[in-house]
């Protein structure tokens, strides 16, 4: 169905519902505890398994960040932490947070739970493959965690794993099992993700319920869908680089290894290209940023719309912005490599593409804040997190314009400016969305609310605390403080006061980290004892709230799948009695509602 105007999207004229194209699928029915909760094929349970695993390994990465921050600010408190351990912790922190937490949580966690419910399907199209996907992911996490316990410890190559140092003796874990386990774990992760990712894409394309045109899908689904497509294209570059580096390491091939002299010893390598690895890594690595960001964009759009009681502004533009950002994200990768020694003429091309991507991104931001304009804004906890996201995302986004503009990047690259930028834009901002989303959908998952007081405390400390960590950190980068330095305070070009700022950042990081314990406590206790939520407590329009049972049972919907008549954003439609009209309510059921152009 082509959407010529928003009316076609919002309210189809005269209830036109296309015929059912896909036969109802046969559901697998679990018979025992094991098949119901452990080796489960229900996407909702798989989503929760993904989420719990991702958050658990994420907590490890959180603790690692404390140790790093302590070393930078109060090294006397962590005398056991040598340079090798520091670099190992930096590496594991980065890799876990980006891949094993954020990617797995947004796509494996939210994707699994929400896709079938929001598009009106009973489950993913390949439930068995979906189950295997989780177990392969768990294996990847276990292999990664195992590297903490092997001789020599995990790799300390930095999360970018640049050769030659990643597999040479000057890097912790470079000669032992550390780097191999990392490469193997990443490869396993890609295999597991591909199984899940194909499922998400095909479910969205093939298993939508009747009336759910692509242009009526909630933006959450658009974000997850586009991110998954990106991942399916980008992860092959990662698995290829992992395999080639493993071969360089184990068999002595020279894909990425040039001839080198290592501590006076001539190597056997010759002719490989370290920069080739960087191109492959960032061909994966830059889309990876959007693999994390696009689901966050989608989810936050829905949070803002629902809690502001107003339709998302410029829905079609939001969809196209997601798609365009996704496409452009494949031609900007080398902006991570402006000073990496590639041909300097690349700088012109990649600076241009990178700054172009700022346009659709900025439009999304405008549309979020315009959605608030003349809304009826409920300052619920999901809404608070959405507001926090906007502040941190705009802040982290504009610093991207510094780093993306090739010449500005020259003095700032590899300083704390970069660390502050990427934490703000793909750490804090998406994590605030994750929190908002958990507060929003917790009643759907458990039938209960999370505790509001604890939630507010959690929001304010997390938002203000992390802003206080990363906003001033940019200024360390202006001074020129390099990242990935185990200690640095004998440099005279930095004022003594940079040390005070470092100490402040460390104290804030520990406070923010500890606040997450309250959040976890809230989740655990509220799941059992939280305030009971009525059905559709936020009065949202999308289908996941329209299931006959809450929490939704196996098969999600009742005897018949819902039929969709409108987009997911019909809030405060002029004339309508209620301030929202769910997607499965036909125009004839609300004859008084007249959605006119304003």
């Amino acid at each position: 169905m082509t959407a010529d105007s928003y009316e076609d999207i919002a309210v189809g004229k005269g209830d036109p519902i296309p015929a059912l194209e896909v036969k109802p699928q046969e559901l697998y029915h679990a018979h025992s505890f094991w098949t119901k909760w452990i080796f489960c094929q229900d996407a909702k349970v798989i989503g929760i398994q993904y989420s719990i695993t991702a958050i658990a390994i994420g907590l490890v990465a959180l603790v690692l960040s404390w140790l790093m921050r302590l070393q930078l600010a109060f090294p006397e408190l962590v005398p056991f932490l040598g340079a090798a351990e520091y670099y190992q912790f930096v590496t594991m922190h980065g890799m876990i947070m980006v891949i094993y937490l954020l990617t797995a949580l947004f796509l494996g966690g939210f994707g699994n739970f929400l896709i079938p419910l929001m598009v009106g399907a009973r489950d993913m199209v390949f439930p068995y493959v979906n189950m295997v996907s989780y177990w392969v992911y768990l294996l990847a996490v276990i292999v990664l965690a195992a590297s903490f316990f092997v001789p020599g410890g995990p790799t300390g190559a930095g999360w970018t794993l640049y050769p030659p140092q990643a597999i040479t003796s000057g890097t912790p874990g470079g000669e032992g099992l550390g780097i191999i386990l990392m490469l193997v774990s990443l490869s396993i992760f890609v295999v597991g993700f591909t199984m899940g990712g194909l499922n998400y894409v095909i479910t969205i394309l093939q298993a939508r319920t009747r009336g759910m045109t692509l242009m009526r899908m909630p933006l959450t689904i658009w974000g997850i869908f586009t991110a998954t497509v990106l991942a399916l294209f980008a992860f092959p570059a990662l698995i290829v680089s992992c395999i080639m580096m493993t071969l360089d390491n184990l068999l002595g091939t020279s894909f990425f290894m040039p001839a080198i002299v290592e501590f006076g010893e001539q190597s056997e390598y010759s002719g490989g290209s370290p920069i080739l690895f960087q191109h492959l890594f960032w061909f994966f690595g830059h889309p990876e940023v959007y693999i994390v960001a696009l689901p966050a964009f989608g989810i936050v759009s829905d949070l803002i719309s629902v809690h502001a009681r107003k339709n998302i502004f410029g829905y079609r533009m939001m969809v196209w912005a997601i798609v365009i950002i996704g496409a452009l994200s494949f031609i900007v990768w080398a902006h991570h490599m402006y000073v990496a020694g590639m041909n300097p003429w690349f700088g012109f091309f990649f600076a241009t593409t990178t700054l172009i991507i700022a346009v659709p991104t900025a439009l999304k931001v405008y549309n979020w804040v315009i959605t608030l304009w003349k809304g009826n804004i409920r300052l619920t906890i999901p809404m608070l997190f959405a507001l926090g996201f906007i502040v941190t995302f705009v802040n982290g986004g504009i610093t991207g314009l510094f780093l993306g503009n090739v010449i500005v990047d020259v003095p700032l690259s590899d300083t704390y400016f970069v660390v502050a930028h990427f934490h703000m834009v793909m750490g804090i901002a998406p994590v605030l969305v994750v929190f908002g989303a958990i507060y929003h959908w917790f009643p759907l998952v458990t039938g209960r609310f999370l505790h509001e007081g604890m939630g507010k405390f959690h929001f304010w400390v997390s938002f203000l605390g992390s802003y206080a960590i990363y906003f001033p950190m940019h200024y360390l980068g202006f001074v020129g403080v390099p990242r990935r330095y185990y200690e640095m305070y004998d440099s005279e070009f930095m004022a003594v006061s940079t040390n005070y700022l470092n100490q402040f950042i460390t104290v804030m990081a520990i406070i923010v980290g500890f606040t997450q314990i309250i959040f976890l406590y809230n989740i655990i206790t509220s799941a059992k004892f939280g305030k009971k939520a009525e059905k559709n407590p936020w009065k949202a329009c999308s289908l996941e709230w329209r299931t006959p049972e809450v929490p939704p049972g196996h098969g999600n919907f009742g005897e018949d799948l819902p039929v969709v008549y409108r987009w997911a954003y019909d809030f405060n439609v002029p004339g309508a009695k209620e301030d929202y009209i769910p997607q499965d309510i036909g125009p004839s059921q609300v004859p008084e509602a007249k959605a006119e152009h304003t």
């Binding site: 040479t168 501590f263 503009n405 020259v410 590899d414 390099p482």
Partner: protein, 281 residues
């Protein structure tokens, strides 16, 4: 009300911090002051967007907070407004990109009068090579590197004989003389960076990278390795001294060139071989 106020204060606080921060860049000591200019420009353009968007958001939160009898507007699209914002943003982006690319063009175009020098990184210290009176750096090959030949000099290239070799010691350069820094690594990635010069580039084994700059004030500057290179990365530091011409020449006269270096190792027959080649050329 309270939420809007806190959001408002976060924005105001950020502005105050920006203008009052004691943490700012070092005084520039090279011709790349216009890089600082591009950063300042970026600050004004992007800062205006940040403040405008966030203040608008705080205002909305304050003005349109939930009231029972309040009805939200129904306004799905507004093509005029959307086009206006698209064009405005595009103009802003061009205003940042165009000057940026002009300066980048300068950055990658080495002036003709620039003097070649070489910086060679290895775990975890710096070596330097100056071209000597002939103005040319001799050829090198990593495969030639040995205890006697730490730079991997090609013994058959006569241009290398007068090259000044500086191993793990301070580098001196004369003021107001453009230098093209040829960057070489023998083991892993490194990055030769002096905060006051602003310029940087990674050194990649297997290839030679470069950048250029002109030192504009004398002084003693710290060199940092800016690309992670293993456990000793944070300690890979060095010093570069920008001298007046005369001081520079005094220092230069005390340095050993490759020929003298080889002689000091008692490798006179190698030298003879190389000298013969030079004569026959």
């Amino acid at each position: 009300m309270l939420v809007a106020l806190v959001l408002f204060l976060v924005i105001i606080g950020s502005i105050i911090f920006h203008f009052w921060t004691p943490w700012w860049w070092t005084e520039v000591a090279s011709n790349w002051g216009n890089i600082d200019g591009t950063i300042i420009l970026t600050f004004w353009v992007t800062g205006a967007v940040f403040v405008a968007v966030c203040l608008f958001m705080s205002y909305c939160v304050w003005r349109f907070e939930y009231k029972k009898d309040q009805k939200a507007d129904y306004s799905p699209e507004n093509p005029k407004l959307e086009w206006f914002l698209t064009i405005l943003t595009t103009i802003g982006v061009c205003a940042l990109l165009a000057p940026g690319l002009i300066v980048w063009n300068k950055y990658v175009s080495v002036p003709e009068d620039a003097v070649d020098i070489e910086v060679m990184g290895q775990q975890w210290f710096w070596n330097y090579r100056l071209p000597g009176p002939d103005g040319k750096l001799g050829l090198t090959d990593l495969r030639n590197i040995s205890d006697e030949n730490p730079f991997g000099m090609n013994l058959e290239d006569p241009n290398g004989l007068d090259d000044i070799l500086i191993e793990a010691d301070d580098l001196h350069i004369p003021i107001n003389q453009s230098v093209k820094v040829n960057l070489r690594s023998i083991d892993v990635l490194h990055d030769f960076y002096v905060p006051q010069f602003r310029a940087k580039m990674d050194m990649v084994p297997g290839t030679v990278t470069y950048y250029w700059f002109t030192p504009t004030r004398t002084g003693d500057f710290e060199i940092l390795c800016m690309e992670y290179c293993g456990t000793g990365h944070y300690s890979m530091k060095g010093r570069v001294l920008v001298d007046e011409q005369k001081d520079y020449e005094d220092w230069l006269s005390e340095q050993m060139n490759f020929k003298e270096y080889m002689a000091s190792l008692n490798k006179s027959d190698l030298i003879q071989l190389a000298l013969k080649k030079k004569e026959s050329n």
